[in-house]
């Protein structure tokens, strides 16, 4: 989809409600996020049911590193703030500032993945691999899938950051919002994974 098409209304030139006048890119991103809700919702639901059926998996859960996860929660929540501040700056016409906040978001995403790698390394070194049991299978599947989403967000943010530094970048500004929606969704998923896998 071109940048111009992304900011076009969903159904231009026709009678319709507020939804029909919504930018195509925003509507498309919400549809995409709905499919993502299905993926993570299913995983969380099956994890919870299997955990109840297995008696809680408390012994396994005691071996995950809640300190690193708590720090990563702080990092991801902060990166959501920087995305919002980037969009605010773009709305105010401060493109350089918007790019700085985007870059900060990328750096925070990298910190998240770095800490996650450290955590995986420690766990694998202690013999806890995806094959170590159902809890570990779920743990690596859910956090790994989430990590891949963070990685995807980082790549997209970097591309947007590069694009915003080129001439005629104003046409790309709506993408800060669309990408921001994705990034916040990744944050929301982590908000549920953190207590489910590390605390409860």
């Amino acid at each position: 989809m071109s940048a111009a098409a992304a900011s076009e209304p969903l159904r231009s030139g026709v009678e319709g409600g507020e939804f029909a006048r919504m930018p195509l890119g925003r509507a498309g991103m919400w549809w995409f996020l709905a499919s993502e809700v299905m993926v993570f919702g299913t995983l969380i639901a099956t994890y919870s049911l299997n955990r109840v059926a297995a008696g809680g998996w408390d012994a396994e859960r005691a071996h995950v590193n809640a300190r690193i996860a708590a720090f990563n929660t702080f990092v991801l929540l902060t990166s959501s703030l920087t995305v919002v501040l980037s969009l605010q700056a773009a709305h105010e016409g401060l493109r350089a500032r918007a790019r700085r906040f985007l870059l900060l978001t990328v750096l925070l995403g990298c910190v998240f993945l770095g800490m996650k790698s450290l955590e995986y390394g420690t766990e694998i070194a202690h013999g806890y691999t995806p094959a170590s049991g159902p809890f570990w299978s779920y743990y690596y599947l859910m956090t790994g899938l989430h990590g891949l989403h963070v990685l995807g967000g980082i790549v997209a943010n970097v591309l947007l950051w590069i694009g915003l530094g080129r001439p005629g970048a104003e046409r790309l500004e709506p993408r800060i919002e669309f990408l921001g929606l994705y990034w916040h969704f990744v944050d929301v998923v982590w908000i549920f994974l953190f207590p489910l896998l590390y605390l409860s």
Partner: protein, 93 residues
Amino acid sequence: MQDPAHSGPTPVTIWVWLLVLVVAGLVLLFFEEMSHTTITILLMAIAAVKATLVLRHYMHLKAQPAMLYVIAFTPVLLAVVMALILIPDVAYR
């Protein structure tokens, strides 16, 4: 997404509230006399509040058309239905 012209709490205020809720979740773990089930329910309630804050104030869902709520929450409903369908399987294992 947060609209700059939007009145209400600033993004930084929402971020502070999110951090307060994270700390509240961590503090809960020190209440050892509380049952595991109670702690889990409280932790998930706190997570739901945090998610609502992000959805309403950062993703600006409250200012979106009603149709977007249908798109966003139908999969949640489907996931809940799927969990309910699987309960007999878990119960009779």
